[in-house]
Symmetry: C2
Subunit: 211 residues, 2 copies
């Protein structure tokens, strides 16, 4: 407890090496995923590609799904960050819509910690692999808890006793997910996640209770 400031200590050689190993694992994993698919890639192959033991892989990532879904953490951070910058008098769904659209754009321009093609890769892998799909859903569920907290605070509600922030978070998450899935179907006519996400929230705003 010598410092409360996040970056208070010197980086250190060790720290950097760990970071490099972690990144190397992610890189190797996505290279193999892109080449052979998620299911067909084993943890051992990923580890071998970076020349570490499988055991070490699991010291960096809790599961094989985890390594593919790291970027979702970035996504969440971006959502929480951008949401906090929205004007306080904006209706919550409007604020979420704007935020999500911004994040979607960032995903596609590679402004977060991953390239657009890697993003593409993940989207299609998730569609193909039930295991990854399940992992993604679980990841999303855990993130949704945090989102609920932030939404509740913004709305001035207590998430422990009020259902509303939970419903809002679930609805927004579902809309985003639906938008991502819509990208798989060319017939849908959406060429970007940004566009699809905006359309999804538009449905919530205008059509949900009138259809």
């Amino acid at each position: 407890m010598t410092a409360t400031v996040p970056d208070a200590r010197p980086p250190g050689r060790r720290e950097r090496k760990k970071q490099r190993t972690r990144e190397a694992l992610v890189d190797a994993a996505f290279a193999l995923f892109a080449e052979k698919g998620f299911d067909a890639t084993t943890v051992e192959e990923i580890a071998d590609a970076v020349d570490v033991s499988s055991r070490t892989f699991f010291r960096y990532f809790a599961s094989k799904e985890d390594v593919a879904l790291t970027f979702q953490d970035e996504q969440l951070r971006a959502v929480l960050s951008l949401l906090s910058e929205r004007p306080a008098d904006e209706p919550i769904m409007t604020a979420l819509r704007r935020t999500v659209v911004q994040v979607a754009r960032a995903c596609e321009t590679g402004e977060l910690g991953f390239t657009p093609e890697r993003f593409e890769c993940l989207i299609s892998m998730t569609a193909d692999s039930p295991a990854l799909s399940a992992g993604s859903l679980e990841h999303a569920a855990r993130k949704q808890l945090l989102l609920t907290e932030v939404i509740a605070e913004r709305m001035g509600l207590d998430p422990a006793t009020d259902l509303r922030p939970h419903i809002v978070a679930a609805t927004a998450t579902g809309a985003f997910r639906t938008a991502a899935e819509a990208l798989h179907s060319p017939e849908m006519g959406y060429s970007s996640l940004t566009e699809a996400a905006d359309a999804a929230f538009a449905v919530l705003e205008h059509d949900l209770n009138t259809l």
Copy 2:
């Protein structure tokens, strides 16, 4: 292809035995789950309790999660069935709300193929076990596809080109799920799934775009 009618052929001794084995596996599984929890129960234990091999277990269920989530299929069937009976001029979200509330009541009165206490067991297990939680989400995702089809047909829309039925299905699913989770928190003040589900849909109807 001798018959297109569902129940065209005599039950047969073999058929019944299979059905009994299946039920026995479900019973044994829930007994063990209730006793030791989901994660701590192995497939081998379940199989041993029914005196079949582990291999046979996997001929009945695709995974350990599957055996715990069979009832969700009943749930879905009930939703689809009841939804088809709602008046056609009812707004879709209203129809879904009424349907979901009915199904929730059925869950709690044991009118579907499982007892209320088993339902309780599943709810609490899902909260404790990440693996089961993930499985449940995946199950729900697959069911959501069917629900989307039915919703689209009722609305007279093409799910292949129209985002709206997908959003509606995702929102309804999310609301139901949120209601189920709310039952874990006594502070929420919901004593039944029926009540929580109705409250969840009420939020969608009245508060979503005004908060």
